[in-house]
Every structure is written in C-alpha cells, then in structure tokens.
C-alpha cells in the first residue's frame, strides 16, 4: 500500500475543513444557525464542561467560522458566513470542474482513433 507523507496543510481551507470535521463542532454550528449562543447554551446538549466547549469554539473561531462577542462576562458566539461561502464556492467549482471534465472525456473518447489493442 502506498504511504503518504503527512505535510501539515496551512491554507485557510484546511483550517475550515479541520474545524468542520468534528461532529460536536458541526452540531454547535447547527445550533448557531438559530442565533448567537453562550458557552453554557452550546454545551448543554452534550453535557459538556465550559472549558471543553471553549476549546471547540477556539477551533471554530480560528477557522473564522464564528465570531465571539463581549457581553459582560459572556462571549456569545455568532455564526460567520464568509468562510462557509468560500468552502461552498470551492465545492461548487470542484464539482463543476469534474462534471465538465468527465463530460469532455466522454465526448473526446468518441473522436479518438482506435488502436489495435482496442479489440472492440
């Protein structure tokens, strides 16, 4: 089996992907669709401690997926649309790219001359 050299990716998309890869963080983002929420509110469904929630929020914040406000002691988290839009645009481009390329390959195959090895 081919082995891979693990090179840590440093592009912004990688940060977003890594943040999205965790189911707890995805659930937190889903909760934030309904509006800003505090650490306590975000931890509630998971019976999670404040520090554990804060750790996840730092990952989301570093990826630019949320912003943190300052209301007295609380720092309510708010969903940030821009990185999601960037990933969405990438996903759309990726899909379009391969949709188009596979269609082009299909067309191109009909124009390619047969060779003796193509025994049909």
């Amino acid at each position: 089996m081919t082995t891979l050299d693990v090179v840590p990716a440093r592009d912004p998309l990688s940060l977003v992907f890594a943040a999205l890869a965790d189911p707890t963080r995805r659930a937190m983002l889903t909760r934030l669709r309904r509006g800003p929420a505090t650490v306590g509110q975000l931890g509630e469904p998971f019976a999670m401690t404040g520090p554990a929630v804060s750790k996840h929020l730092r990952v989301l914040e570093r990826a630019g997926l949320i912003t943190r406000g300052r209301v007295a002691q609380a720092r309510p988290a708010t969903l940030a649309a821009e990185p999601m839009k960037q990933v969405a645009e990438w996903a759309e481009q990726f899909r379009e790219f391969w949709d188009l390329r596979y269609d082009r390959l299909e067309d191109y195959l009909t124009t390619m001359a047969d060779e003796p090895e193509d025994d049909r």
Binding site: T2, L4, D5, V6, V7, A9, D11, L13, S14, V16, F17, A18, L20, A21, P23, R26, A27, L29, T30, R33, A81, M84, K85, V87, A88, E89, W90, A91, E92, F94, R95, W98, D99, L100, R101, Y102, D103, R104, L105, E106, D107, Y108, L109, T110, M112, D114, E115, E117, D118, D119, R120
Partner: protein, 162 residues
C-alpha cells in the same frame, strides 16, 4: 452516503476515502490512453477557459506528474502534482495527488473495468491521510448547504452522523 451526484456518483465507503464512479463509452484500453497520454489529456482535461498549460507525465512506477491549469485572462492558476505508484495498463493506476492550494495529499486508485457492452466502468478511490481531512472534503457539501441558505445542511449533517 452519497454526495455530489450529478454526472458522477460520489460515495464514502470508509473513514478516509471518497469513491467516484462514472461510466464511459469506450473500452478500457482507450480510456486508459485518454487518461495517461499527455496529447490526449491536454484535449479533454483542459478547456479554452481553463487550459492545461503544463502537462508533464512520466507514467511508470516512481515517475512524477505535474499539471497546471492557467486561465488565459487573469490569475487563478491551479497546480497539481504527484507520483505514479502502480501502473497496470489498462486496469489499475495508483497515484499520489497534491493540489498546490488545497488540502492533501491523497492516494488515488483508478480502476477501469470492462463491461459486457464494451463500455468502461471507472472507479476512482481517493484516500486521504486521515479521517479529518476526508471529512473536511465531505463537509464542504455541508458548507455548500450553509452557503446556499442552509437548505441542504440538515440532510448533509444527517448523512455525516450516520
């Protein structure tokens, strides 16, 4: 689960892989040539708005490849490179793939199966380093849902938790 099902089907059969399936109307030897010979690749992999400006391929075990797509009018070049690790013409090609500006690398296993009607069933398995990276790519489907007003997010999440 299945995502991005349009002209090709994408599934995630295990923790670290994405599998792409698509049929082509030619025998495997012909599809193989279209996929591995630069003079053919340039003609379908590039297109006028995004031409394949660099296409270097040394298709043998240990050989390297480098493709660069460059838009004719402006920035936004996309480069990808890697190695050939298994070359079994016309059935199986194993390569590594690393985009210049996107997460990676991956090991890509291309299998061409001849069908009874002379068509070819292509199966491309893209295996990432770890689950996190794979899920990141899959999660881009979720991001798309978010970016488009959330309509697909719940489906995507449900599929991911399952």
């Amino acid at each position: 689960m299945m995502i991005w099902a349009q002209s090709f089907a994408v599934t995630t059969p295990d923790d670290t892989s994405i599998v792409v399936r698509r049929d082509f109307g030619a025998v495997p030897t012909k599809v193989w040539r279209a996929l591995t010979e630069p003079e053919h690749l340039r003609r379908w992999l590039g297109d006028p708005s995004f031409p394949l400006t660099t296409c270097e391929m040394d298709v043998r075990v240990g050989g390297r490849y480098r493709w660069v797509f460059t838009p004719p009018d402006g920035p936004g070049a996309m480069g990808v490179s890697g190695t050939y690790d298994e070359v079994a013409r016309p059935r199986r090609l194993v390569t590594t793939e690393q985009f210049d500006d996107y997460p990676g690398p991956s090991v890509n296993t291309l299998v061409l199966d001849e069908r009874a009607d002379g068509r070819t069933a292509m199966t491309l398995t893209v295996r990432y380093v770890d689950r996190e990276m794979r899920d990141g790519w899959v999660a881009s489907g979720m991001a798309e849902g978010l970016g488009r007003g959330y309509e697909r997010l719940d489906d995507a999440l449900e599929a991911m938790e399952g």
